[in-house]
């Protein structure tokens, strides 16, 4: 697991992109306080997933509004899946495993 910064770098209910080992990973902070990490690039047409709106289950890509499951990375609208990464919070620090 790699430290990527403070959980407070991500506003509640939003996502931010982090570059980790040359990969772009979108980390989301859900309104229940938990975090999720997905590959940052929308498999549909390359949209920035971190700019999407989320709830406790899904992220909706800002470009064409297709949705992906935040936990599994599976598409909820028949698209290709995105990779999901293990992520956890330890003492307000975010750790992602790539």
């Amino acid at each position: 697991m790699k430290p990527i910064g403070s959980v407070h770098d991500i506003p509640l209910g939003e996502g931010r992109t982090f570059a980790i080992d040359g990969r772009m990973i979108a980390v989301f902070r859900l309104r229940d306080g938990s975090v999720r990490a997905l590959s940052a690039v929308c498999p549909h047409k390359g949209g920035p997933l971190a700019d999407g709106q989320i709830d406790l289950k899904q992220v909706v890509c800002p470009l064409h509004l297709y949705a992906w499951d935040l936990s599994t990375g599976c598409s909820l609208s028949g698209q290709e899946p995105v990779t999901s990464f293990p992520v956890r919070i330890d003492d307000d620090q975010l750790f992602v495993e790539v």
Partner: protein, 848 residues
């Protein structure tokens, strides 16, 4: 080792078979190969997608996560080219070789294209502009192309052709249907019924129909220019859709040595002829000489197949040595060649199929024979061509063997049931065709067996519906969404309704979902607003917590807009409720960069402002500078992290070109300069924009003011357009549009001063903000609510609401803050941090 089950074809039959196997706890490692790049979707709904009734995302039956959750390995986009029956391997187009213990072939059919000259371009597949209608990709391509063209010819007047023709009307202006036989739907209908249908199609839908029309050639070298018929007639068109039938996909079976006639020949156990471990299901299967082209038979086939493949003792008598000892063999039953006969439980005996046309407003149902065949077949026939009605039933030995309904499907459900089950018929045969009053002959749903299929299109049983209600779904449309019952041809909807009512203990909750303001909170707008006021809910999260249950990403933006309108400065602004555009006050582009449109009131600017914009564009290397349709200047391709700097350098207010809000006021030069101008349109436009800038609403609000009825500012097609007329008067038009939807606005009022225009504009916009549904533009809202009603409220103050509307608008105007001032300090951590991939995808071409 677990047995390996491989499925070729990931369509409706293949995926359904796997579901049935999983439901029987079949212990297999399952691998599926599908030629198409998707999970399994409901092919029959492509007609509804084309017709714009159903959204693409709504037709998926098994999305990719379903496969993962059920441990099924799916290879999409991989075609199986060959089966080695001896080595038990399948070979894929990706070079893969996969071993199996049991194999299921579910390759479906492909569109059949008759040999028509010009349909194909040598070496390049279909002529561009020529389409078939079988897959999601076909449908997408057809829609994309049709939108940019104007006249279509559909070749083939069967079910598919009729549905294609109707769907195409949704995208282009003129559709002609060319049918080779003497009447429409000639496989299902007799001539009288076909002619009645033709009249309805022509008169009610406005589709031209040509029968006895043999298409011989598609004209046009680069683009389609027309089709030519055998009699020399030429029909001009720029799109051709071929819906002339289907052919089972049997190549892979044939090259692999299976018995293939019209389809892949199967026995009653759904096994390929003479094969112990290869099963076939769906449209590619030929059973007792019959090949089906509808979904209902495949539900039954899938059940039979799954039962047999899961039966523990059914193994091939000639089990290869390596397999003996596996958990599924080792039994005592591996003996003579008849073993499967005695051990296989389930057999398939063929299906009786009924069909229905899925064209809104045109009822056609048909089953079995279309005309009597034997001397003693009874025929009852009723025709009323003026009203587009034709019905018949054919009875043999007291059983229904055929029925046709055109123009009135009232009896369809009862007839389909009598036909499929061979039920006894009423002595008074007329009751088959008409409701004659008297006690309802409807079978009580309580007596139906649980496994009786209710929806044949989607294979949903009474038990499935009951389970759905027991699972907490109390509304008819909720159950329809969850089970997909009633979502195909729609014939079964009344029965679905009765079953849901019965399962609910007789009552059913009204189904309000369609009227919800946002999907995640179950209330229409007025009720939602009352609840928000009552509980004083000032943030989006508090609305979910109090009214909605689970937070829903797709509802946040609509709620944010509503709360802001209702609470103004007291609204608790949770940034995550905003769409990205509203978080960073700019419009996201296809490459993840943003566009910046500074305000330019009334489209009027100055040399100094232009210089500043030019300097900023140069300094930041803006990839494209473009004039918008709203009379201002767009700087496109600005990275998110540069937005605050660009705003600071521009030092101009936001033009709100990104929000669901008041956008612009287009003006013409009007009386200031124009020879014809009778009113000062620029001054009024600027005043309107000055006052209502940035006001948010359920949809965009685009305005215009034009200086005379020549209407250079296109005010007739705006959400609100103002036209100066002679005598110092102004006309206000509302509900116009000239985007994807074109509508001329309705005249709301004629007034005598710019001040009155400003007041009525504010009142109208406020009424729209309060009553319009989320994303409902004025062009939809005005006709829905009615211009008379709007005039009564806004102009005549018939409901005494005017003062409140004006006050609410005043408050909103007073709360205006230029969002581009929010730049010194980010509002949230990393507000302007890039979310883009390291390598910019997909690049928007930069113009010099």
């Amino acid at each position: 080792m677990r047995q390996r089950l491989v499925v070729i074809g990931n369509g409706m039959a293949g995926a359904r078979t796997v579901e049935e196997i999983l439901a029987r706890n079949g212990d297999f490692d399952i691998t599926m190969f599908g030629d198409e790049p998707y999970g399994n979707y409901n092919r029959i709904m492509l007609s509804n997608v084309l017709a714009g009734i159903e959204d693409e995302s709504g037709i998926f039956l098994n999305d990719l996560s379903w496969y993962a959750e059920n441990g099924v390995t799916l290879h999409t986009g991989v075609r199986i080219n060959r089966i080695d029956r001896y080595a038990r391997m399948v070979y894929g187009s990706d070079g893969s070789a996969t071993g199996y213990d049991k194999l299921v072939i579910a390759t479906g059919s492909s569109a059949f294209v008759p040999p028509i000259k010009g349909a194909h371009v040598p070496g390049r597949g279909y002529h561009q502009g020529v389409f078939v209608f079988r897959t999601l990709d076909d449908t997408r391509a057809m829609i994309r192309y049709a939108r940019e063209h104007s006249r279509a010819v559909v070749i083939g007047g069967g079910l598919l052709g009729l549905e294609a023709a109707r769907g195409l009307q949704n995208h282009l202006g003129h559709v002609t249907l060319v049918h080779a036989a003497g009447h429409l739907m000639n496989t299902q209908l007799n001539a009288a019924a076909g002619r009645t249908l033709q009249t309805t199609i022509e008169q009610k839908l406005g589709i031209d129909v040509v029968v006895n029309g043999m298409t011989t050639e598609i004209l046009g070298k680069h683009a389609v220019a027309g089709v030519k018929l055998a009699d020399g007639t030429v029909i001009d068109c720029d799109v051709v859709v071929v819906a002339a039938g289907i052919r089972p996909n049997t190549e892979v079976a044939a090259v692999s040595g299976l018995v293939v006639e019209r389809g892949i020949v199967v026995d009653d156990y759904m096994r390929a002829q003479d094969e112990e471990d290869i099963y076939v299901v769906g449209e590619c299967a030929q059973h007792r000489g019959q090949v089906y082209g509808l979904v209902a038979p495949l539900w039954e086939q899938a059940k039979v197949l799954a039962t047999n493949v899961c039966a523990p003792n059914v193994s091939a008598p000639n089990v290869s040595p390596t397999n003996v000892g596996g958990p599924n063999v080792g039994g005592t039953n591996v003996s003579g060649p008849n073993v499967s006969e005695t051990n296989v439980g389930a057999t398939y005996h063929g299906s009786q199929v009924a069909t229905k046309l899925k064209v809104a407003g045109v009822d056609v149902a048909s089953m079995g024979l279309s005309a009597p065949e034997r001397d003693d077949d009874e025929l009852l026939e009723f025709a009323e061509p003026k009203r587009g009605i034709y019905k018949n039933v054919i009875v043999r030995d007291g059983r229904l063997v055929g029925a046709t309904l055109v123009g009135d499907n009232g009896k369809a459900l009862a007839l389909i049931k009598a036909f499929e089950k061979g039920l006894p018929l009423p002595d008074n045969r007329a009751e088959l065709l008409f409701d004659l009053g008297g006690p309802a002959t409807e079978e009580s749903v309580a007596d139906m067996p649980d496994d009786e299929q209710v929806c044949n299109c989607n294979g949903v049983s009474k038990g499935d519906l009951k389970a759905c209600v027991d699972g907490g779904c109390k509304t008819v449309s909720g159950c329809m969404d969850a089970t997909r019952a009633g979502k195909g041809c729609g014939t079964c909807k009344p029965l679905v309704q009765r079953i849901v009512e019965w399962a609910n203990g007789g009552s059913v909750e009204e189904d309000p979902a369609a009227s919800y303001y946002v999907p995640g909170v179950p209330m229409p707008k007025s009720e939602l607003m009352a609840a928000i006021r009552q509980h004083e809910l000032k943030s989006v999260s508090s609305v979910f917590a109090t009214l909605g249950g689970d937070e829903d990403a797709k509802s946040k933006m609509g709620l944010a807009s509503l709360l802001k309108m209702m609470w103004g400065a007291d609204y608790i602004d949770e940034r995550d409720a905003r769409f990205i555009n509203d978080r960073v006050h700019a419009n996201i582009q296809r490459d993840g960069t943003f566009s910046v449109v500074p305000q330019m009131k009334g489209g009027v600017t100055t040399p100094a402002d232009l210089k500043r914009i030019a300097e900023v564009a140069e300094r930041h290397g803006v990839p494209m500078v473009k004039l918008t349709g709203g009379q201002r200047i767009d700087l496109l391709g600005i990275p998110k992290e540069k937005l605050p700097q660009v705003w600071a350098d521009l030092d101009m207010p936001s033009g709100y070109a990104y929000a669901k809000s008041f956008r612009t006021v287009k003006t013409c030069v009007g009386s200031d300069f124009c020879r014809f101008g009778v009113g000062d349109s620029t001054a009024l436009g600027i005043a309107l924009e000055e006052r209502y800038q940035g006001i948010e609403g359920p949809g965009k609000m685009k305005l215009a003011v034009t200086g005379c009825p020549r209407n250079c500012a296109e005010a007739y097609v705006k959400d609100l357009g103002v036209v100066a007329i002679d005598g110092g008067k102004w006309e206000l038009y509302v509900g116009g549009a000239a985007g994807a939807h074109v509508r001329k606005g309705d005249l709301l009022a004629t007034v005598s001063s710019p001040e009155e225009v400003i007041v009525l504009t504010g009142r109208f916009l406020q009424y729209y903000r309060e009553s319009g549904n989320w994303l409902e533009r004025t062009y939809a809202w005005v006709p829905r609510v009615g211009i008379e009603h709007i005039r009564a409220v806004v102009v005549d103050d018939a409901e005494g609401k005017a003062a409140a509307l004006d006050a609410a608008m005043d408050a909103a105007v007073g709360a205006y803050k230029d969002p581009w001032k929010e730049r010194a300090e980010p509002a949230t951590p990393g507000q302007f941090r890039t979310s883009l991939p390291l390598t910019v995808l997909p690049q928007v071409p930069v113009r010099a």
